[in-house]
Symmetry: C2
Subunit: 278 residues, 2 copies
């Protein structure tokens, strides 16, 4: 009898996929929580953004991108992009031969852990909001009544890309979005940042939220929650890498602005980046 199954090795990398550079906020959280893991990152910067595009375009690009990660022999795939997580998880889980974790469920679980009132606001791209992925996940996980109000914030991604962050124009844009959300959800106590770009804006968003809501509002982002979920899944599968320090290999489908913008999201210089055509 010949067995063709090959055993997964703990030294195999974790693949992290994003539509662009925003997913480097997830790389940052994963590297902090799992410093021994080898990471392979792919940003689909030639086709970014996904947030304003249709479900089937997002699924098609997500399949292409995760296939590239598989060619790097990854032991697990993290879908950092919230829009890809909102539209493509069913397809990716059905077709990829490794565990796949998305942004939605970890983010939803973190929001539920943080809310006292059971009233949660979600900020995201047009696609993520249109998909209703967060409201569905929140209701499925809650085990109690939750009220969810999602707000599409399409201008926040270009603002973060430009680095207009602690900035009066960025504040004016955030104030408009959050004022509209407040009108719909005056009693929310958690704001879930449902896009990899938003952690860069979280200090500013928190300041504006504290001016708009009369009571404290907790900001939750899915980057830290995804890293914790990845760690739990690796432990469950006995796939944790325990040796010295892990490596990061970064791939992008377009490299026009990667050095300038990438380090802003990673929080440190990005190092070498390889461009690939998919």
């Amino acid at each position: 009898v010949t067995s063709t199954a090959t055993e997964t090795k703990t030294s195999q990398p974790i693949g992290i996929f994003d539509s662009g550079v925003g997913g480097l906020t997830v790389v940052r959280a994963v590297a902090a929580m799992l410093p021994s893991e080898n990471l392979v990152y792919l940003g689909d910067t030639a086709r970014v953004p996904y947030g304003s595009k249709s479900a089937d375009t997002v699924v098609r690009y997500s399949v292409l991108s995760t296939r590239f990660l598989l060619s790097h022999d990854v032991k697990m795939v993290l879908v950092a992009c919230n829009t890809a997580s909102a539209f493509a998880m069913t397809e990716l889980r059905a077709t990829l031969p490794v565990p796949v974790l998305g942004a939605i469920e970890p983010g939803a679980a973190a929001a539920l852990a943080a809310t006292k009132t059971g009233r949660i606001g979600v900020l995201g791209t047009l696609g993520t909001v249109r998909s209703e992925a967060y409201p569905k996940a929140l209701r499925a996980l809650a085990g109690r009544d939750v009220e969810v109000m999602a707000k599409a914030c399409p201008l926040l991604v270009p603002l973060a890309d430009e680095g207009w962050i602690d900035d009066p124009v960025a504040e004016a844009i955030a104030r408009r979005y959050l004022t509209e959300l407040h009108a719909e959800a005056p009693s929310l106590d958690v704001l879930l940042l449902g896009c990899t770009h938003y952690p860069l804006l979280s200090r500013m968003l928190g300041r504006v939220a504290s001016q708009i809501w009369a009571h404290p509002v907790t900001l939750v982002d899915s980057a830290g929650a995804m890293a914790a979920a990845a760690k739990a899944e690796l432990q469950r599968l006995h796939l944790m890498h325990e040796s010295a320090s892990g490596t990061l290999s970064t791939y992008v489908t377009d490299d026009a602005r990667i050095d300038e913008v990438g380090s802003r999201f990673l929080g440190r210089p990005l190092g070498s980046v390889t461009r690939v055509d998919l």
Copy 2:
């Protein structure tokens, strides 16, 4: 002797290509100036925007997109997208078997016709500015000394897409860009709107410019200039279509927001749109 050459018919359509929906401002200008022409429009909305991407990515997508137009038997191709015009004209002119007109030269000629001081400001995407296509074209066409100062305005496209147009936030963003340009070019008397999205913002941009510059500043966009250039070229080649009213066939590579956003750029309802995968 058998001739394989087929004669170009005046009823063949003009192909108009853009990275997304912005090129519908060019469709609007062409339809006004050449009402008998049949038009085939392709917006590469699945891969939009081009403005922040690298030259070779823009060339690759432009080749794919114009090949699609050729399959519709077009007699001429208009490259409405300024970023594609800035990066891909050499490749497209070398490979397409029909006349190809871009946005840069008509826009530059219109700016030169409008300037008295010979000092011209250009607003565009990161890619268009990085390419230096406008300064090169302006200097080549001028036959006299011109001073050109180009300013990348990456947030104007998402603002126009959102329809935040006559709007305090849009004004604040425009004021920042134009104040920075004024510091470099206090004596310009023409602002060339080097992106298909900017005509939607032109009234607001004109208002802000009149507050920043002490003297009158003329705004010029390339949509009208492209339509005039197309008309001249069709006359020169005896390819003008003279019959009744022309048709518009619209194709996009992603249709997520086309009905909502498209009519804003076209200035009237868009009618039926066909999605194609390239």
